[in-house]
């Protein structure tokens, strides 16, 4: 495989039972041998520690406090989490199930769609690729504008809305459907719109990955008897771009769980009608920015982090089995 475990700078040290002093000395020796590596990561590490790591740790610590942004935080132990799992009905009844449903469809759906589109674009002639890539990346480039001019007029609940007027003209429905304000349809609309705009950095990475696959492999495979495009994808494209697949998978998970404003952008209400589109992020926003219960919002963020971490683990596990087959 591409990633052999061979070390470039120093051969692997054997782990034997030695006195702590010698092992510590040996450890520092190894660290010193790698001093150049540490020099390489130093600039990033500084910014990372200062602007991401320390703030994240501080925010995570806030989850054990009562903090309203005016008084200094007051330590309350596990109370936030106790409340979260036992009494926060909106969280238990709406935010959590909605988030799971949303993530289960949008995460894998967006991931597969990004791969398929990237693959299709890679099949096109060279001059056409960039324009198709631009087209599918447009929602990420234009963000908010896309929402207001394409989806809102399309999904408007009266008969002027493009979708309603289309369906009514062809006799599929006889009265307009409230696509974004009815609690039965809001979730569906949110999923469709998010899928539409899910061609972000993961999509770009996958396209670069597909284009980067060594073309000679395809030729070799043809000689070896690969006949269809599907076989090509399964046996060559995906195995050769595993790093990019993993990257997009993580980005898909992160992106899906961090989506939160979509429901309120579509329905124009916050919270969404009867909490139909209430996601964990909306819940965090509700507590953090509306009620100013920062401590509770922080514990929600920690919960979200755990949720993402677990789905990430699940994703890697699924990939792991695929690798063995």
């Amino acid at each position: 495989m591409l990633q052999s475990e061979a070390k470039l700078a120093v051969p692997a040290k054997r782990k034997t039972s030695e006195p702590v002093g010698i092992r510590l000395k040996r450890f520092f020796k190894t660290v010193w041998d790698y001093r150049l590596s540490y020099l390489f990561i130093a600039p990033f590490l500084f910014c990372f520690l200062a602007f991401i790591f320390v703030p994240v740790v501080l925010a995570a610590l806030l989850s054990f406090t009562y903090y309203n942004a005016l008084e200094p935080p007051r330590f309350i132990g596990w109370q936030n989490f106790q409340y979260l799992f036992s009494q926060d009905l909106i969280f238990l009844k709406y935010a959590l199930p909605n988030t799971i449903k949303f993530a289960l469809i949008v995460g894998p759906g967006g991931y597969v769609a990004a791969f398929l589109l990237a693959w299709l674009i890679a099949q096109l002639p060279n001059y056409a690729r960039i324009w198709y890539a631009l087209a599918f990346y447009t929602p990420s480039l234009t963000a908010g504008i896309a929402m207001s001019i394409v989806w809102l007029p399309l999904l408007t609940g009266d008969r002027i809305g493009y979708l309603n007027s289309f369906l009514m003209n062809f006799g599929f429905i006889d009265q307009p459907i409230l696509w974004v304000t009815d609690k039965n349809y809001l979730m569906g609309s949110m999923i469709v719109v998010t899928l539409w705009s899910s061609m972000g950095v993961g999509f770009l990475a996958m396209m670069a990955g597909i284009l980067n696959v060594n073309q000679e492999l395809y030729e070799a495979a043809r000689i070896d008897g690969v006949k269809s495009r599907l076989q090509e994808i399964w046996y060559i494209t995906i195995p050769s771009m595993k790093p990019q697949m993993l990257f997009s998978a993580v980005m898909a998970i992160v992106g899906t769980f961090k989506a939160g404003t979509i429901g309120q952008e579509l329905s124009g209400q916050f919270p969404t009608p009867q909490y139909a589109g209430h996601l964990l992020m909306s819940h965090i926003q509700d507590y953090g920015e509306v009620r100013f219960e920062m401590g509770y919002a922080a514990s929600l963020s920690v919960f979200l982090l755990v949720l993402m971490f677990l789905s990430n683990k699940l994703g890697t596990k699924l990939f792991g089995t695929k690798e063995d087959e």
Binding site: I130, L141, A146, V201, N212
Partner: protein
């Protein structure tokens, strides 16, 4: 190398035959292409809209449902934007200068710093590289809204308020870029780097002359991402800049319509501003994405 190319030449006629069979455009592929084009055009709508919207006169700006195409194009919005900007307290060129400086520096530094961080993580396996990578991934998953206040405190303690560092440093911490670069660097065969080492190349030379050219697609993608983030960056202006002369162009443009009594005044200027903000993103995307598509032919990853 020589052997494969010889084989390739020998096999060329056969290969051509096989490829033509496999690449034959059948009806299904034609259907797929049509579908892709229709979907692409639908997704392009916002882009077309932005350009058209800026040219609309006031009586077209507020039509609902919105028209994608302009009926009577006019440059009046740009004139309005020019009039509004020429009367601002801090000259608009100052905001523009701030934005250009921070964006250019951010794009260059983020690519360099993330690549420099990703290279040892992927190729040196120094003690602690696993912990570092999982920490980067884990923090990627933390909700950004929740860390504004701690971030502000850190920035205040570092003394970077009202300086260009205040715009730059928070953006340099780009875990997504490091992750992306690392994934691409994983694909570089270790043998190649070892060979270079044997030939006496120093670590920095290997990094610069071998690793970076081989992950050009990742570099280009990171550049696109960072440019998008840095050029539209409002956050650092809002949080860390109290001095009006240190704020960025997008921040200035957002003040044009924010806090006005109604939703009608200056909408023309805002539409023109949207195009001016969007255009660099558009150009940079095309420029770097072309690089991604072009590099594949001679990447040499095997």
């Amino acid at each position: 190398m020589a052997a494969t190319s010889k084989m390739g030449r020998l096999l060329a006629p056969i290969r051509f035959k096989r490829r033509s069979k496999l690449n034959r455009v059948d009806n299904f592929q034609k259907f797929l292409l049509v579908l892709l084009t229709i979907l692409g055009l639908f997704m392009l709508l916002p882009l077309i809209y932005i350009f058209n919207h800026a040219l609309k006169p006031y009586n077209e700006l507020f039509v609902y449902p919105p028209n994608i195409f302009v009926r009577q194009p006019t440059l009046q919005n740009f004139v309005e934007l020019f009039l509004v900007t020429s009367s601002s307290v801090v000259p608009v060129t100052r905001y523009f200068f701030n934005s250009v400086v921070t964006t250019v520096l951010a794009v260059i530094l983020v690519t360099v710093i993330s690549a420099m961080c990703a290279y040892p993580i992927s190729k040196h396996k120094f003690p602690g590289h696993k912990i570092l990578m999982s920490t980067i991934l884990l923090t990627l998953m933390f909700v950004p809204e929740a860390v504004h206040i701690p971030r502000y405190i850190v920035a205040a303690h570092l003394g970077i308020m009202n300086t260009y560092w205040g715009h730059l440093l928070p953006q340099l911490a780009a875990p997504v870029s490091v992750f992306l670069m690392k994934q691409f660097m994983d694909q570089i065969p270790n043998e190649l780097l070892e060979a270079a080492k044997m030939d006496g190349a120093r670590e920095f030379t290997i990094f610069l002359k071998i690793a970076i050219p081989m992950v050009m697609p990742a570099v280009a993608t990171v550049a696109i991402l960072t440019f998008q983030g840095a050029w539209g960056n409002l956050e650092t202006s809002q949080l860390y800049m109290q001095d009006e002369a240190m704020k960025t162009f997008p921040f200035f443009l957002s003040t044009l319509t924010n806090g006005l009594a109604n939703n009608v005044a200056r909408q023309g200027a805002a539409a023109a501003a949207a195009v001016i903000l969007f255009l660099p993103n558009f150009i940079i995307f095309l420029f770097f994405q072309r690089k991604v598509i072009a590099t594949m032919a001679h990447s040499g990853i095997k």
